[in-house]
């Protein structure tokens, strides 16, 4: 597909929506909905200045560490739990229990146990975004093709080798689905974690603006989140393309034949 076409797809619908938004706000100014022009100028004022270093970067770093920890832990635990049914039965009720408790309720508990610091915020990110990775990994492990599974057992492939050559590759499409989801959840949790005891960060800034009724500034913060979301998704797509090269390749061959 030509570059021009690719760009058109990328910005087409968003541009259309922005135009509609601009048209609808042409009337009298609305306190809670800024015009596109307002938003762009506010965005630049707020985020291009020193806030970039004081708020944007710390949040991104926390998010990054949290996501990497999430993915690693999620896959490792997912493989363990997916492979041993007794482990899954042991932990499942507990995991479901904690998963159901909303983060704003859990955070005060974390503060109690961990303290008011970066570790707590990273922990909050992990505690919520690990679930899609974990669950999808477990599903992926369980759904390994029986024939492949039996064949490798017959050939005496056990333990770590088995994981590396059978389980992981077979489950990887499913795992990548989970990873993709955990990215946006991680972002949401980063915001929530910064609502408690924080003194810097994107989420903290958004809440501050919200509290101070600085509405265009608040929307600019939300726009930042959306942009980070797009960036994360592009990155994960790139990673996915590499990791699942063989899977996509198989599909493409099937499609073309």
């Amino acid at each position: 597909m030509s570059i021009l076409k690719r760009i058109a797809y990328f910005v087409g619908l968003p541009l259309l929506l922005i135009i509609m938004w601009w048209a609808l706000t042409l009337g009298e100014p609305n306190f809670y909905v800024p015009t596109p022009a307002q938003l762009i100028t506010t965005f630049w004022e707020v985020w291009a200045g020193e806030r970039f270093a004081t708020d944007f970067l710390p949040s991104i770093i926390r998010l990054f560490i949290g996501l990497i920890a999430t993915i690693t832990l999620g896959i490792v635990l997912g493989i363990l739990i997916g492979s041993f049914r007794w482990l899954r039965s042991l932990t499942e009720p507990l995991l479901e229990f904690f998963r159901a408790i909303p983060p704003p309720v859990l955070v005060p508990l974390f503060i109690l146990l961990i303290g008011i610091n970066d570790q707590m915020m990273i922990f909050v990110i992990i505690s919520g975004s690990i679930w899609p990775v974990l669950l999808n990994t477990v599903e992926g492990v369980r759904a390994v093709d029986e024939v492949l599974s039996d064949t490798s057992r017959t050939y005496g492939i056990h333990g770590f080798s088995r994981v590396r050559h059978l389980v992981l590759p077979a489950a990887s499409p499913q795992i990548m689905t989970g990873v993709r989801q955990s990215l946006s959840i991680g972002l949401i949790l980063m915001v929530i974690s910064e609502m408690f005891g924080a003194s810097s960060g994107i989420g903290y800034t958004i809440v501050l603006f919200q509290r101070g009724f600085a509405i265009p500034e608040m929307w600019s913060g939300i726009a930042v989140l959306g942009l980070i979301g797009i960036a994360l998704s592009l990155i994960s797509k790139a990673i996915e393309a590499r990791v699942l090269r063989w899977y996509h390749g198989v599909k493409e061959v099937q499609r073309d034949s």
Partner: protein, 320 residues
């Protein structure tokens, strides 16, 4: 056929956004009277500070003025201002810095009556430190971490003034946000150096060894008004009889509450989970029907000095 669907959805949602942000709901055009009561909803935080309105409703002060009041407990400031703007609440309870912030940004809010004021020394709110802390005076707070329930609001504004007046440099204080229920634990576990706490958590903390550094409300100004009942400017100018009725009933409730502390404690047990024992150990806020405008000017000036407000508030617009 499919693209218009998405476009239509998007348009509908943006339209909803734009259209729905109109004025407050209509509560009837007739002046309220006992024979034809007007129903109103007042959003309040279910804490000791709002006892007067609960008491006033129970005593019939509001129905005397022809108002059928539904007191709606809110979980905090997040909902009260949008709630009033959207018309869910006709009036709501909020602290004065929040109101100043709103007007600073162009939202036209107007306080119609006072809500509660500082009780002097000792007070129902204070900055505490762990018992073994080496902080002994407000000036020592410089360079330390202090938690407040909301940043850029009445807590840090009053604390900063107190610290500066005591000779410390308040700009070196690191403020973090910790809600009152969690602040006690944060101080006890040394996760913050000091915390601003209100009763009843204040009493529990002190009973467990915490020390008071300053009663920041009264140290800021012994006549400081802390919160009041507000509405939109639109309601204030568009429904003068309704507003007047509310003001009369509310002021009567405030005066009654101030002179009947036992009844205040009694009513608090009905809308919170607090016990009479807890309440007896507490200092109650002062309930006054009069505004202390000098203290309010000072508050506005301080908020402006510390960068919370873009300009000093116009009390003529903010207060009746």
């Amino acid at each position: 056929m499919k693209k218009p669907l998405m476009v239509g959805l998007a348009a509908a949602s943006i339209l909803a956004l734009a259209a729905c942000s109109t004025g407050p709901a209509d509560t009837g055009g007739e002046p309220p009277s006992s024979s034809n009561p007007t129903a109103i909803t007042v959003g309040v935080i279910p804490i000791v500070d709002t006892a007067p309105i609960w008491l006033g409703v129970e005593k019939g002060f509001f129905s005397d003025e022809g108002l059928d009041v539904t007191v709606q407990p809110t979980t905090g400031g997040a909902a009260s201002v949008p709630g009033v703007v959207a018309g869910s609440y006709d009036f709501a309870f909020g602290n004065y810095v929040s109101g100043m912030l709103a007007n600073d940004q162009g939202l036209a809010l107007k306080y119609v009556t006072n809500g509660n004021s500082t009780a002097g020394s000792p007070d129902f709110g204070a900055v505490i430190v762990p018992g073994d802390s080496d902080i002994t005076s407000p000036a020592d707070l410089a360079g330390k971490t202090v938690s407040v329930n909301n940043l850029q609001n009445i807590g840090d504004t009053t604390i900063r003034t107190v610290v500066d007046d005591d000779g410390g440099d308040s700009s070196t204080i690191k403020f973090v946000e910790v809600a009152f229920p969690d602040a006690e634990a944060a101080v006890a576990n040394k996760q913050v150096d000091a915390a601003w706490i209100l009763a009843p958590f204040l009493n529990s903390a002190v009973a467990n060894g915490a020390r008071v550094i300053t009663y920041n409300f009264s140290d800021f100004d012994p006549g400081l008004d802390i919160a009041g009942y507000f509405t939109t400017l639109e309601t204030y100018t568009g429904k003068p009889e309704l507003t007047k009725a509310f003001q009369t009933a509310m002021n009567k409730s405030l005066e009654y509450a101030d002179s009947h502390p036992d009844e205040v404690k009694q009513i608090v047990t009905t809308y919170t989970k607090m016990t009479l024992d807890q309440l007896d150990a507490m200092v109650l806020p002062k309930f006054s029907a009069e505004f202390n405008r000098e203290a309010m000017v000072k508050l506005g000036a301080a908020a402006f000095d510390y960068g919370t407000l873009k300009a000093e508030p116009n009390l003529g617009e903010l207060l009746p």
